[in-house]
């Protein structure tokens, strides 16, 4: 039984992955506070580790071409244990959407509209997301191409405009920190921006790509996202240098430094624009996935009726996640990568191994 009959074409899928990863590249403070001026090396390592996750997800997608994650769990573990696995994933999706929403609220509250209560911003933002989600997967992914181009364009232009402020001495000293720091940075960056593509397992039945080309488009989108992450980190370190660890939004400060002959200044508004655009995309995708998973687990006929209810829960949940901003930053760089590893690596790996042992795959069922 398929709830949403929308179709996603190959290039749309590729840009959806790219846009999804680019959305997290703007919030780089988690790992920059750990590895400081060597963060760009760490982001390349994280990209390579992320390829392992990508291989895992592609294999799962190829084994079960017309099933999404909840149906895979039901098929592999049976109805009871499968439901428990699916509930864990629903918790993960809800938490991710709430975390991204909280990031948006923090940013708007700190930088753009400090006097407005955060809940007003979040509720109006969620209303637009709910509108998109009610339209289905086609509406959610349709603008991915456009958004990716806007974000990449702004990123490349600001890279050239920031040339005046770049000082290559900011990269020194290289490889001068304890090894554990590099391991920690790689772990953070592999799980927090890159590993989150586990949500694409939920939309497998809607993707119209022959299974031998799936890996190619997935990897291409992943590479676009990874390249922009590395470029942004390089630019921020080159401009800001050692003081980069002091800021919550390093890219915001970098763009604030740009000044061309008195005419062009205050470029940080561009950062605000792309942050809100990309987070809108990411949050509506995550929101769509959580709504789909919940309606799938209760076997509803349509997901449209629970959209507003789930949105309300996500908004309130985003206020309850952490008690303070400091706790958020501390947990984000110390313990959250381990928790994410459970949902992003361990559970899909167990699913794959059990599917291989029990020899289940959906292609046999079709005949």
């Amino acid at each position: 039984m398929k709830i949403d009959n929308g179709k996603v074409s190959a290039s749309q899928f590729m840009f959806t992955v790219a846009c999804f990863i680019q959305a997290s590249t703007l919030l780089t403070a988690f790992f920059i506070s750990v590895t400081k001026q060597d963060s760009w090396i760490v982001s390349i390592f994280g990209f390579l580790v992320g390829m392992i996750f990508l291989w895992l997800y592609t294999t799962l997608m190829k084994n079960f071409p017309n099933k999404n994650l909840v149906e895979i769990n039901d098929l592999v573990f049976g109805p009871v244990v499968g439901k428990i696995f699916s509930l864990v994933y629903i918790y993960f999706f809800l938490t991710l959407s709430a975390l991204n929403l909280k990031d948006l609220g923090d940013f708007v509250g700190m930088a753009i509209m400090p006097n407005t209560p955060t809940i007003v911003i979040l509720v109006s933002f969620m209303c637009i997301c709910a509108w998109a989600v009610r339209g289905g997967i086609e509406v959610v992914t349709r603008y991915s191409l456009f958004f990716t181009f806007i974000a990449s364009f702004i990123m490349i232009v600001t890279f050239f405009l920031a040339f005046n402020d770049i000082d290559f001495n900011n990269f020194l000293p290289m490889f001068n920190q304890p090894v554990m720091k590099y391991v920690q940075g790689t772990h953070i960056i592999a799980t927090i921006p890159f590993g989150e593509i586990v949500v694409f397992l939920m939309v497998t039945p809607n993707i119209e790509i022959p299974s031998n080309k799936l890996g190619k488009y997935f990897t291409l989108g992943f590479a676009v996202g990874g390249t922009s992450l590395t470029l942004i980190v390089l630019r921020d370190i080159a401009v800001l240098g050692n003081i980069i660890t002091l800021f919550t939004f390093p890219s915001f400060e970098t763009l604030r430094m740009i000044r061309l002959s008195r005419a062009l200044g205050r470029m940080e508004v561009l950062f605000a624009v792309i942050l809100i655009i990309l987070l809108f995309f990411k949050i509506s995708f995550l929101y769509y996935v959580s709504v789909l998973a919940i309606s799938q687990i209760f076997k509803l006929n349509s997901y449209k009726n629970i959209v507003l209810g789930v949105g309300e829960i996500i908004v309130i949940y985003s206020f309850n996640l952490y008690y303070s901003m400091v706790q958020h930053m501390e947990h984000g760089s110390i313990i959250t990568p381990f928790q994410w590893l459970i949902y992003e690596f361990l559970l899909p790996l167990i699913t794959l191994i059990v599917a291989k042992i029990r020899n289940v795959s959906s292609s046999e069922e079709r005949n």
């Binding site: 918790y91 938490t95 554990m180 920690q184 919940i294 209760f298 076997k299 509803l300 006929n301 349509s302 449209k304 009726n305 629970i306 507003l308 209810g309 789930v310 309300e312 829960i313 908004v315 309130i316 949940y317 206020f319 309850n320 996640l321 952490y322 008690y323 706790q327 501390e330 947990h331 760089s333 110390i334 313990i335 959250t336 381990f338 928790q339």
Partner: protein, 73 residues
Amino acid sequence: MLYVILIFLIISFITLPDVIKGNSKKELIVVCSILCFGFILSSLYALGIDLPSPLVGIENFLKNILKLGYKDQ
């Protein structure tokens, strides 16, 4: 608190007629329980009661009992 009740009345007026027309009892139960859960959470938020966070709970479990986690700086 007044706003919470108002918003939930609006949401129910948007959502519930479709569900009732659909004639499926199970769907009505699921939608109503999700709305009730959301209503309880948001009224607690509006009344200023702090709820425990499941995220912090799991992370404290991983950190203090399983001894995972990186050293602080």
